[in-house]
Amino acid sequence: MSGPSTYEPKSGFTRWLDKRLPIIRLGYDSFVAYPTPRNLNYWWTFGAMLSMCLVVQIVTGVVLAMHYVPHIDMAFASVQRLERDVPYGWLIQNIHAVGASMFFLAVYIHMFRGLYYGSYKAPRELLWILGCVIYVLMVATGFLGYTLPWGQMSFWGATVITNLLGALPIVGESIKNWLSGGFSIDQPTINRFFSLHYLLPFVIAGVVALHVWALHEAGQGNPTGVDVRKASDIPAGEPGDTVPFTPHATMKDLFAAVLFVILFATFVFFMPDALGHADNFIPANPLQTPPEIVPEWYLLPFYAILRAIDFNIGPIDSKLGGVLAMFAAIGVLFVLPWLDTSRIRSMRYRPIARQFFLIFVVVCVILGWCGGQNPGKILVPATFSATLEWVEGGTVTQSPVRAEGEAQWAQAAADAQASQSGAAMTAVTRTSATEGTLRAINGGAVQTRTVTGGTVDELEAAVTEAKAAVGQAAPFFNVTRNTPFTFTVTTLSQIATFYYFFFFLVLLPLLGLRETPGRVPDTIAKPVTKQAQGAA
């Protein structure tokens, strides 16, 4: 802890206890006397809310486990019974389900706050990494828990995610089967997922203890990023840089927590299923995949990154590429303290980095949006066009085309068409792998018409319509279709994914070396005093 303990046991019992198990001293030093920078803003209250979320999830989860049956034939029904028949079961189940979303909402705000104010920089690198470990454990716990109600999304989500691991070369298949305990998601899977889903929150609690320990060793950061001064360095008559944790931070955290609970309760009581998916009210059916599989909202950005890689990169096929990109998106957070080269902690004093950070936040939101959309959806209107070519008048001749083998067909067709160099128009219709018919028109007038459409469907409709309009005037048509570049959800995901990695791997390392920072105050008290004077 920072500084020597100031705890003084008052009663006989506390003196007796302090010599044997100084637990009150530990609590006092950590959560009462612990010096807190006086300039913390509301973004710093999310740590307390996250502790609350963890407790809520564990308490409600333990209760749910009293009623839940981890069996493929009974899991869905046991959740229904819990909601219908167990006293207050509906309430506790709603709190647990909404609580997962609230937990992730708070953790994302907490992480963005850390990013903006440089909370990952020395001496808080380990504190940040422990936070990343907690986040990964949360994702794992959330995924395991989502499987348990055994609805369609549970089942197919589990299938898709375990198949991700199957993308790994050589060992993938074995790992997948090891994880699911069979060749598909089945009874062994639900049993072990239940067990692990119960276990992991306690592991999270353990890592949270380390996280808090590391926090209290390094001391809290603050919006200026300037280190707080030791009490001995404060000139006489000036207030210190810190205030005691209790009641100052405690009261502020409690107030913010109540506001957070208001949001929480709004979901629990008025739209408990708004954050879930309708398909999870259909019992799992291994024979039928739902029309669209989407993860819970808090995993959508990573899902978008997974789907953005729809091309092979050298020896890495698109499936493995997507999986690697998705894991890299989380992995890059772990090395962030060494990627950012800036000596300034807070982006308050980094005018350029701050702009890029804001874009980064927007990009993350865009990724989340993309993750929930159909990847082929066209975002920017495009014009598909086709040119119809036909001949009016003229005489049609037909001749067979034969190729030596299937591989030679293309050449044979081209040769046959070239042989009719005098014809107004030629076309080859393939009738089998190696055979076809060459039709050629000699004489007559070549006509063309161009039709357009906003989608492939509209274009095809326009082509059919044009053909009908021309009708018998032409023996046959040549249609040249022009496919424009289409800006789809996948394109947007690719741009956003690029920026995501560009921000961490290029911008942060380079900016730290090139950027001219703004003026950083010498102490956290400086802006504080100024503010106070302005207010007075």
Binding site: V63, H67, R81, D85, V86, P87, Y88, I92, A536
Partner: protein
């Protein structure tokens, strides 16, 4: 923020502060209390369990001198079709030296206080000593039930006559819903 000293100087400030703290603390305490209740209540028997708290029994299949065991609330219940001998033995012993004195007629009363029928004895099948299920065997000196665990001996009315059990076998709450049908619970 104005100068701290001037605020401190206000005499009633500490009273106001205390009031706010006490109010906030009390309201928060009420909230915590109200939140705790659902978490306790959820362990009570659920609606589906409570709905199974009655059992319908068709008596027509139980022959004279036979008994069946039916499940009620997850526990066994004896439904015994007593013979004339058993009935007269039970009535004769109404004035015997009983550990837990009770007349046979009292033990036949239905749930709603109406008298029962002497040939139908409806008893909870757990020994009042430590909960084993007594058997209706010749081992009983009183012609009734005998508990194999610790040797408690009950007569044909289910009254304790000998052994460590403190009380008579409990009568299950039952009601005749037809000439040959009863509902337990």
């Amino acid at each position: 923020m104005a100068d701290a000293k001037t605020i401190e100087a206000h005499g009633d400030d500490s009273t106001r502060r205390d009031f706010i703290f006490i109010a906030a603390g009390s309201v928060a305490a009420v909230g915590v209390g109200a939140t705790v209740w659902p978490f306790i209540d959820q362990m009570n028997p659920a609606a589906d369990t409570r709905a199974l708290s009655t059992t319908e029994v068709d008596l027509s299949a139980v022959e004279l001198g036979q008994q069946i065991k039916v499940m009620w609330q997850g526990k066994p219940v004896f439904v015994r079709h007593r013979t004339g001998e058993e009935i007269s033995a039970a009535q004769r012993d109404d004035f015997a030296n009983l550990k837990d004195p009770q007349s046979d007629a009292d033990r036949l009363l239905q749930e709603d206080g109406q008298p029962g029928r002497p040939e139908w004895m409806i008893l909870q099948a757990s020994c009042t000593h430590l909960g084993c299920v007594p058997t209706f065997v010749d081992g009983s000196q009183y012609g009734g039930w005998f508990c194999p665990c610790h040797g408690s001996d009950y007569d044909t009315s289910g009254r304790i006559r000998r052994g460590p059990a403190p009380r008579n076998l409990d009568v299950a709450p039952y009601l005749f819903t037809g000439p040959t049908a009863i509902r337990i619970g």
